[in-house]
């Protein structure tokens, strides 16, 4: 039965609707495989009983023909553990929320349920989505299915590992500075971060509000497009979500890329970029060229300062967003506090991990009066410059940008955990598009000599996810890496 989990969403849809297999068969296959691969540590919570109940309910709906209008009806899906699921524990991989059971669903959870998806579990992640390796989890690191000694990338490491190991065909993640694209690249699957505002953030535990965006992991671009389709749309509960019309992503992304101008930013091919990764990216660009695309050299001159800009803005917003975890209303509370101040100090000292505390401190510092102008305000100005680089490139030179996702392939667990700065560099190629609010995607484009996957990074104009999908789809069908699966899964 595990063969089922290698099928695409449209194949699963057809199989379920024809009665070739049942939703309960599919869901229990997923649940059993999750159980069998516990060593990956991809899940914080597995909801077997709820999932099987939902699957049984889905079967009745499928018999009525509801599969036509509810694309994910009866299909197992996993969700990053910072997306609120009513009555299902949502921990954000933190001791602070280790026992938090939300009383409401995030909008994306609601949308998934409306589309018929069966939630099988909540995936592991870096605590509060702060990290690039999934080692910053209160529940331990996630292992990369391609090499269990390696990290799967972060912060959505659990979701990436779950899809790479074919535990569920679709998984939700969040991307603040690269937290979908980087683990997708390191885990050899497709990962999409849509345009900021495309998907509601309501009910998603905030890290950096102006950057956080929900997206998906899947094994093919088409599956990812369908996932984004389900999640997209304006939400009156999120003032930053947009009213922009949502196209039929799956249908619109079919077709050729002949004549498409692909921008290659010179600032992304720099010292520090692993040569195997660079070669692999250059090879994939040739494939795109063969498909009829025109490669154009472009310049994004503010790329260099994007990382430091991000590490001011994101911690600033995080320090504010995480102020609510004070032990008063929910979550962890220190035992026997002497007084209020002691309750605050110890709750937060004991409840948050090191990386979270590090960023709260950076954020508090840059927002302090006297430092605000020099750091936060300046960072916002630089952010505008970074965004303008992209606007200019898209206005003059290209329709889509192609570049590396990560400077290296997956590294060993523990290798960089004592060096936060080296870790921060993992996101150097994903952060600029995050600052600009642009949609981005990682598509598998090869392996290094150790057999670890490499991803091709595609970035498009705001709300032009269609071009992203179209390019990705053409590429994957012309390449040998679509549906590449780690051994044993």
């Amino acid at each position: 039965m595990t063969e089922l989990l290698h099928r695409s969403l449209s194949e699963l849809r057809a199989g379920l609707d024809k009665g070739e297999f049942s939703s309960r068969e599919l869901v229990s296959t997923s649940l059993d495989k999750i159980e069998k691969n516990k060593d990956l540590n991809a899940y914080i919570t597995v909801c077997r009983d709820e999932a099987l109940k939902e699957a049984a309910a889905a079967e009745i709906e499928i018999k009525k023909g509801a599969g036509k209008t509810r694309p994910l009806l009866g299909i197992p899906v996993s969700i990053k553990d910072l997306i609120l699921t009513k009555d299902i524990k949502t921990t954000c991989a933190s001791k602070m929320l280790a026992n938090f059971i939300p009383p409401y669903d995030a909008t994306v959870t609601k949308k998934l349920k409306e589309s018929g998806a069966v939630i099988v579990g909540k995936t592991n992640m870096d605590e509060f989505a702060m990290g690039s390796s999934n080692e910053n989890s209160f529940f331990g690191p996630v292992r990369n299915p391609w090499n269990k000694e390696c990290i799967p990338g972060g912060s959505s490491g659990g979701s990436a590992a779950a899809v790479a190991a074919r535990l569920t065909p679709l998984s939700l993640g969040s991307d603040t500075g690269g937290s979908i694209r980087q683990p997708a690249s390191l885990s050899g699957i497709v990962g999409v971060k849509p345009t900021y505002g495309r998907v509601s953030r309501y009910g998603v535990i905030a890290f950096a509000s102006s950057l956080d965006q929900i997206g998906v992991f899947a094994n093919t671009v088409e599956d990812a497009a369908l996932g984004i389709q389900v999640l997209s749309g304006h939400d009156p509960k999120d003032s930053t979500s947009v009213t922009e019309a949502v196209p039929d992503f799956v249908a619109a992304s079919k077709g050729s890329i002949s004549g498409l101008r692909i921008g290659i930013p010179k600032e992304y091919f720099i010292e520090g970029l692993n040569s195997e990764v660079e070669n692999c990216i250059r090879e994939s660009l040739k494939v795109l060229e063969k498909l009829g695309a025109k490669l154009v050299q472009i310049s994004l001159p503010h790329t260099e300062v994007a990382l430091s800009t991000y590490y001011i803005i994101a911690p600033a917003e995080a320090s504010s967003n995480l102020a609510r975890y004070d032990g008063c209303r929910y979550g962890y509370r220190a035992e026997n506090p002497k007084d209020l101040l002691d309750q605050y100090c110890r709750t937060r000292a004991e409840g948050f991990g090191d990386e979270v505390k590090r960023r709260i401190m950076i954020g508090s510092y840059v927002l302090s009066s006297g430092y605000f102008d020099a750091y936060y305000l300046k960072a916002q100005k630089v952010r505008a410059l970074v965004a303008r680089d992209f606007t200019n490139a898209f206005a003059k030179d290209c329709d889509v940008i192609a570049c590396p996702v990560s400077p290296s392939t997956a590294f060993k667990i523990g290798e960089k955990s004592s060096d936060p700065l080296a870790m921060y560099l993992s996101d150097v190629f994903t952060i600029p598009a995050s600052l600009a609010g642009l949609p981005g995607m990682s598509v598998p484009c090869g392996f290094d000599s150790k057999g670890l996957p490499i991803g091709l990074h595609l970035i498009s104009k705001p709300f032009d996810e269609v071009t992203l999908f179209k390019t990705g789809r053409c590429y994957e069908s012309a390449s040998d890496f679509m549906n590449a699966c780690p051994k044993g899964f």
Binding site: P102, I205, A206, S209, S320, C328, L367, S369, F372
Partner: protein
Amino acid sequence: MDFEAVIGLEVHAQLTTKSKAFCSSSTQFGKGVNELCDPVTLGLPGALPVINRQLVEFAIMMGLATNCEIKKYNRFARKHYFYPDLPKGYQISQYEEPICKRGHITVRMADSVVRTIGITRIHMEEDAGKNIHDSRSGTSLVDLNRAGVPLLEIVSEPDLRTPSEAASYLKTIRQILRYLEVCDGNMEEGSLRCDANVSVRPIGETKFGTRTELKNINSFKFVEKALEYEIARQISVIKNGGTISQETRLYDSQTGTTASMRSKEESAEYRYFPDPDLPVLQINESWIESVRALMPILPEAARQKLIDTYGLSDYDAGILTSERKFIDYFTKAFEVSSNAKAVSNWLTSELFGFLNKEAMTFEQNKVTADDLGLLVQLIDTEVISGKMAKTVFEEMFATGKSPKKIIEEKGLKQITNPEEIRKIANQVIDENVSQLKAYLDGNERLFGYFVGQAMKASNGNISPKVANDVIKEELNKRKPGK
């Protein structure tokens, strides 16, 4: 050396919007503890704020009423501090870009001097919840019903010079808020709160002295008392060679004194920054105009109208405009009767007098504005006499019945038909032979006697004016040679 005080007030007005500032939770007062708590109010993970349109419109309205510029481009800021009544660990407020700026209002001071007081800014923000401390058990309980309720902070220029002026200013702000029906203005219940900034300087000095900020002033009386104490304290410190330190001081209404709460050095680090969850709020001209169209007449304009158009006294105009409900009532009654002075008199002397005597509120009053107008009209058209009207009004006040119905029931209708009155007049003249003789002999003062007798004979039901004319005619007829 003589000193003068320089005072500016920061007024917090809790708005009467139906839902909270950034979520759909109700703002209803008096609900059970923590009943008005949705994910946003509770600051649950993942909850996001959405601006309440009514809050923005109330802010625009208050800005227009205080002659402020309305900012077209608005940002909200987060103000951070940790306290159990602040669920998110920050308050959503406006910092560098308040919605209203640079306004002014006219304030009538207690000594009848009229002054213009500058408004520095008005901004929107959300209220915190309430902590209830139990000193015996050493625990604190938190009620978040109030958390997220919208507030306007109205900051004056340091234009006030005496505690009495500060109180008059505060009363005027309250009056405007109540006219606009955006805040109930209840200081005791905390829906109107006030902090005062005060400094002193030698008379003639143009630079400001070091100021202190007074908090915990929760009545009009305390505004004056707290400022009086603080001004005297500052003057005495300076006279004794000391200096004032910039600090926040708490007013203690029990002792009537102020005490230091925190100094400037200890002042909180709020880490303000623009709230990334709330996009820029754009306010265009047409939105402002649509809000302006909804605004009632304001107290100062209403007062001028009463004096200039209706010829009312300054005093009566002041009473009638002190509350919007009075001027609304007056206007309605005037529309029925077209006699402003009479309506004003009936309202301010009779109705207010009765309410006062019965210790009733204006809301408990059973006499409708239409009925009061009708009563005045009935007097003016001589359906009833002024004397009858008092009886009718008494009944109206007690029962809420319309004056027409009361007149009918009591048979109070005034007789105005001259022929009917003529019969009574002749009857009275005929019955009083000796008085008639004296009158005809030249004692003209007896005319009044006949009128009185006629009134008596008709039980006061005849029109005195018609009776006057008719009796004069009839008496003249009896003069010799006629």
